[in-house]
Symmetry: C2
Subunit: 545 residues, 2 copies
């Protein structure tokens, strides 16, 4: 008979089975014994500077690999990841929060153990608001099944979950002979068949159907099915900002990023004039869809997500998103020619001649666009780093990460760490404003420590550029740092300050050659220079302030 | 008739009336209109690098001034202060969290506004776990009264509170003719009289009564009353770690810091052998009291806090802490001579001769002890920065700030900013480990920006020194930064690396002379060198890992 597994070992085993290879976090006494287990397991611990950074890194890791994990101590660690986990919830990223906790037995004796806020379950109550499933692994009789239930919820809904592991339960054996359940609830076959038949008929009856692919296509890793559907049906594919890079942006079927009135007019025209919009994995949020300038009619849509399948006004229950998409991609479609549209690549600038004039936002993105290769994953922080990046031409697939709905500043530097840990073949290009960099930029220390080499472009416009046009005041200024001096503090990496396009071109070339550690480019920009997309966005947001 | 005040103006007005002069935070679009009001008010906005720093700064500000405020945007800002606010709850610090939010009217139209996690009240639900009172100021009919209720709770319980201000309510007038209520519930006179009479009689009947002063004496600013009580009754005064510096530590009545078996044996003997322990504002937590090595008998105690008044086994209801203490300080006491005890100042080292041997933790604290003056406020982070500092001899009063119960790393640098903003006559001496410095040390950028000049000593022992003796592994290492190079990044301040006592002495002298900005001393320490207090603590904590 096999000896029963401990609760801690089983958790590690299941994470590994779901593809997790790295756990981000910072230890503390309530979680030390689990760290000891992790250290002796096939999972690698990735320390960050602050738990906040670990949370963002795990989110990016989950977006790339399908599941991520952050492991922290009770309250002083756990509550620091409340915001990154809220972002993972909002943007559907399956992150497992593992928190140490006081032992169940010591709780009875000692009412005021350190790190406790109010009640022993205060932290769990907080995370109930921010996750789709949670459990305190207190009872060895149920702990293994609870781990299954909670991990299954993360994978099913692509949202974060919370597991609290009291320190006196880590090495306690769970139920012997426990086997992980399958967990998958199959689609109802009749509903699936009916939904696909109606959807295919609707597409075939339409004059100008268009696919709009959004975030869940990334999360469920259904990019191949979307491409197959597009190829078989000859439908063009647009992507939302959260869905950007869902198919390679040089693909002939790729229409561009749809952002309502904020995006390229041609994309908007195709999408909004379509008599059959196929919304795949969509997430109808304000910034993602251009602050509700979008006008999308449900009666003329096919809407498929993990939470709902609807063809026109007919909802179908018990049909899984991935089953629907797989079946639809096999459905019979009538012959159709792909409509003609301009390629989304920004007006060809030819080989960019280096300019000696002060660098502009527009030129910065043109230069970055020319710099991209399939080996690069773009990670954008909030502000023009994100909105300007919307027009970047991403050559690969799934190679654009940005908090385009929750828009929490400080995402990009730690997310770059998570993204590169998830796929060491890639090199992150992190785009980050000066305000956001001050929040989490020091996490480059973790990049140094773990041998990562992101290229980081700090868009230094001396303040919160998204807010200035809405309402300005000294509170929109940020402290004036010399970002390119960061290597002096970290004792590694390279940093350069660029003020002109020519200097940027030289810096990017140097970054490409320097792969030993991070390469930071501080790009000095005019405080009131903004990308066209951000200009349109802030004009709309300002109306609501 | 006076024109009715807007909800936002009234909130500012009431904060000002309660002594608040600075509001810490970072703006975002949902809170911009309130920032505009703040900017035109007598309150000064203090931007930090990250909201986490604003939370810790507001906590320290509240500890010094009696009320603090942090003002953030919805979710992406608010959830970043969950951990600092949890710490303020645990250690009784009255911080007002003011969060912007989507307008009430726009919520109906737009179900997925940016920054939203799950429901519109998700953030409020989180803060209900971490505060003593909360309100969403949605209804102009009740908003002003709600502000009164919530601020009153902060002052009454010395705990954080939460106010959410939807952006379409900021400039909406509240009820006309509203006047702030008094809010104070007076003590029941008979109970008060009976409690004080019994307490005085118990003290008079005792052979060796001792006062043990804790955190609430600081929070309710009752230091003068404790001193008066000690003088009139001739009782010696010990303090807990959270209560440290509750009376000047050179005072003849001052016994020292009581930390159970972790502290000085003489203090322990006096406290634990007392036949009448007068516990004032006490908070019986594990680390604060030496991981429960303390043996305190309720029958032999007088116990007075804001939540409970008990004399021996008799509880008295409806008696306020401050009323009890004021009346007790006026009670008749029999003649008694102060017992003899050694002064807590560590063995006089005389004028410290500079040593050229590698710096030790013990020598570091001896050197710091000699450096202290009444103008310095010591702000300690978690680890030996805190436990080693327990033996520092604080000359002033209320001049020691440290998270001695909640023990969240990253507290000290931003708390130093808050403490100096609260009292510009003081200069913070921030003691912080390398691990904690990586979490929030960049907030020194905010110190530069706002003209503050803390002295920061980074205890660089290359890792989490509190954890190493409990259980060690590579996860206890932190990235190797060159902390003294920080001025290169910030473009201001001074930084020096010290490896010997002689270098430390020179650095401290230079720090005293340099007052233009922050002065950072990176003290290189052996990874396994620990203060005696921390050695004893970690030996006990290790038993529970």
């Amino acid at each position: 008979m096999k000896s029963p597994q401990s609760i801690g070992s089983y958790l590690i085993h299941r994470l590994h089975a779901h593809g997790v290879r790295h756990v981000f976090g910072i230890p503390g006494d309530y979680v030390l014994s689990f760290y000891d287990l992790l250290q002796r397991s096939p999972l690698r611990i990735v320390n960050t500077c602050d738990e906040q950074g670990a949370g963002f890194a795990a989110d990016a890791y989950a977006r790339v690999r399908g599941l991520g994990a952050v492991c922290v101590t009770y309250c002083v660690g756990g509550l620091k990841v409340a915001n990154p986990i809220a972002g993972a919830f909002a943007e559907k990223s399956p992150v497992v929060v593992i928190s140490g906790a006081p032992g169940i037995d010591e709780r009875a004796r000692d009412p005021l153990l350190h790190h406790k806020v109010r009640e022993f379950d205060t932290q769990r109550r907080v995370f109930e608001q921010l996750t789709v499933a949670s459990a305190v692994l207190a009872d060895p009789q149920t702990a293994l099944a609870e781990i299954d239930r909670v991990l299954h919820a993360a994978l099913r809904f692509k949202r974060p979950v919370y597991l609290e592991l009291p320190r006196d339960r880590v090495t306690v054996p769970g139920l012997p002979h426990h086997r992980p359940g399958n967990g998958a609830e199959p689609s109802d076959r009749r509903s699936l068949r009916a939904a696909v038949a109606e959807a295919a008929a609707k597409i075939n009856a339409a004059r100008n159907p268009v696919i709009l692919a959004d975030v869940e296509v990334h999360r469920f890793h259904l990019q191949d099915l979307v491409l197959r559907l597009a190829r078989r049906s000859h439908l063009p594919v647009a992507a939302t900002l959260l869905g950007k890079s869902v198919i390679g942006e040089q693909h002939p079927f790729y229409l561009g990023v749809y952002e309502g009135a904020l995006g390229r007019p041609e994309v908007r025209r195709h999408v909004e004039n379509s008599d059959c919009l196929v919304l795949l994995g969509a997430f109808l949020t304000d910034i993602n869809l251009g602050v509700f300038t979008a006008r999308l009619d449900p009666a003329r849509s096919i809407y498929a997500t993990s939470e709902k399948i609807a063809v026109g006004l007919h909802n179908y229950e018990n049909v899984r998103f991935e089953d629907f998409l797989a079946a639809l991609a096999r459905a019979p479609f009538r012959r159709r020619t792909l409509p003609r549209f301009a390629h989304p690549r920004p007006a060809a600038l030819g080989p960019l001649r280096p300019l000696r004039a002060p660098l502009t936002v527009r030129r910065l993105f043109a230069r970055l666009d020319a710099f991209l290769t399939p080996e690069i994953v773009v990670v954008a922080d909030v502000g023009d780093a994100l909105f300007g990046a919307a027009d970047l031409f991403i050559p690969g697939r799934t190679e654009f990460l940005g908090p385009a709905y929750y828009t929490s500043m400080g995402f990009a530097v730690p997310a770059g760490i998570g993204a590169q840990m998830a796929d060491r073949q890639k090199r992150p290009l992190v785009l980050v404003g000066d305000g956001a960099f001050q929040m989490t930029g020091l996490e480059l220390a973790a990049a140094v420590r773990h041998g990562l080499n992101p290229i980081v472009v700090v868009l230094n416009n001396r303040g919160f550029g998204t807010e200035r046009p809405m309402q300005d005041g000294p509170y929109n200024d940020v402290a004036a740092l010399r970002y390119h001096q960061l290597p002096a503090l970290l004792g590694a990496g390279r940093g350069v300050l660029v003020r002109t396009d020519a200097e940027l071109a030289a810096a990017l070339a140097a970054a490409k050659d320097y792969t030993a550690s991070f390469f930071l480019i501080e790009a000095e920009l005019e405080p009131n220079d903004r990308s066209p997309a951000l200009q349109r966005l802030t004009a709309r947001l300002a109306k609501r302030v």
